[in-house]
Symmetry: C2
């Protein structure tokens, strides 16, 4: 273990990060909080780092992955739910009218996502989500979603852990959707994955005990709810937080709004060639207010195009 | 690390446990799920063990510790809240009429506990709870609450971790109340402590960001809610669960109600001399239904008087 981390360090643990202000800010921050006797030293048990998932660790464009999972489920289940053929926004979805689906807004999208898996057990849901993420391909990258993960962020997670940080996801996405693959893909066991959840009910059926998922949200982990999710699930304030949208702003404010050295970062999607370019006016991953306040607040804007030498592990492998 | 665990094993890692059926069941279970190539083998990442806290890891008698913490807070705050002097159940509490406080039931006790710390920040609450638990003494044992912890359970937690289990608390008590001391006392970081919570709100005041706690419960982690808490916070089904009351029954059913080798245990408070003797008719830690079903379900009843050679670390030190 020790030997490996030494050899990784020799080879630059952040090799997909270009030299520049973002990489420097990260490396300097980690050095300062881990330097024993230094004025910014933070003991290992308090080295908490939180990462948003959609658009920060994995691709979220042109639409949050979890909605695409729900769309496929609705199409699969329609023989059992003929009422969907005449009910919006299901009707539009089944007719392939994505413009109307989009026009139904977050409310419509959530209705589809929540309805699609209502009544499913926790065990079945985990199996389905894991299988879908391993086998369904992103329309632009033609790779399974489990590969549409940002390589520089995997390096950053490993770099932080090598410096005794505890790393967590704090996402607006469903915990149960992400968890079947987070250990394999990010090295994060399910209890280090915080996100949205639905009301579920304990049930024993034919001697088998399980949770049954309902169509009601119990926690929507976005914006001002992200610090709440951190408080309830992690119980310790992060010293580093990384997001990519205005939905992550309160998480970053919670992280940086306390004494001691802190680091807040936003990934700015500026690379329309290797990935996608979007920010202030985008429907997914809107980055507007945070972009405006970053300089005054000392938050680091990571420019995908210039700060990342490589976006995906599969780049150049085609 | 390796050397230490070997020397601990040589000295019996469960030295406060008397030889008998409970200890044998634990040791055999751990051997069977950790034996590589064995039919009951469970990989380390799935070795999840959950423990109730009140009455399972620490003393809960004659009243759940968290209520005593709230009582002290109410007495301290009454100059700022003269209305409590005439409002039940606060009036009874302030007059020392504990019989009437008890008669107000769980509803009355919760009202006191929730009101006592409403409007307090997460940071202040953690400081107060930690200080209170370190300095307030139990009326029978004359020791601070952080010492009124069952020594055999500390050994069991360490034994499980030495066998690559991940250990968690899943308590009806408030997460925020326990977390300030769980790392020091049980070796459990806050994200491995699941419990009840209140609605909290993110707030930035004078440039400082924090959560502010309300008087509204957001999650009451008892009975059928315990499997829900496990699903939402841990995200993986335990293979071992340890409780002491009917409030833990669904957690044990969730644990044992699936394929593979599983172990469910209940601590039976049978020792009126070293601790307290209570079960079916007790107001705190009622153990009735589970006691009746244990044999048929294969759950292990741990008899405090006979199965534990020592209850507290301080025993014999007076």
């Amino acid at each position: 273990m020790k030997e490996r981390s030494t050899s990784v360090r020799a080879a630059d643990p952040l090799s997909s990060w270009a030299e520049g202000p973002a990489k420097s800010a990260i490396v300097q921050f980690v050095q300062s909080v881990t330097e024993k006797g230094g004025k910014d030293y933070v003991p290992p048990e308090e080295r908490i780092a939180t990462f948003d998932n959609d658009g920060t660790l994995w691709v979220e464009y042109p639409l949050y992955t979890q909605f695409l999972f729900a769309f496929d489920r609705v199409k699969e289940l329609v023989p059992k739910h003929p009422e969907w053929k005449t009910k919006q926004p299901f009707k539009a979805l089944l007719e392939g009218d994505m413009k109307s689906v989009g026009a139904s807004g977050l409310k419509g999208l959530l209705e589809i996502a929540l309805t699609a898996h209502a009544g499913v057990t926790a065990t079945e849901y985990a199996e389905e989500a894991g299988k879908w993420l391993r086998t369904t391909r992103h329309e632009k990258f033609k790779r399974p979603y489990v590969e549409c993960i940002y390589q520089p962020q995997l390096e950053l997670l490993a770099y932080l852990r090598a410096h005794e940080f505890k790393t967590f996801i704090v996402s607006g996405g469903g915990m149960a959707f992400m968890r079947p693959i987070t250990e394999e893909v990010y090295g994060l066991p399910p209890w280090q994955v915080v996100g949205s959840s639905v009301v579920s009910e304990f049930q024993i059926k034919d001697g088998k005990a399980d949770l049954v998922r309902s169509e009601k949200i119990s926690f929507f982990d976005d914006k001002a709810a992200k610090p709440v999710g951190i408080y309830d699930h992690i119980g310790r304030r992060p010293i580093l937080a990384f997001g990519n949208s205005d939905g992550d702003m309160q998480m970053i404010e919670y992280t940086t709004g306390a004494e001691g050295r802190r680091l807040g970062l936003f990934l700015h999607h500026t690379d329309g060639v290797r990935e996608f370019a979007y920010d202030r006016k985008s429907y997914v991953g809107t980055l507007d207010k945070a972009l405006g306040q970053a300089e005054a607040k000392g938050w680091i804007i990571v420019d995908m195009k210039n700060d990342w030498k490589r976006v995906f592990a599969f780049e150049g492998m085609e």
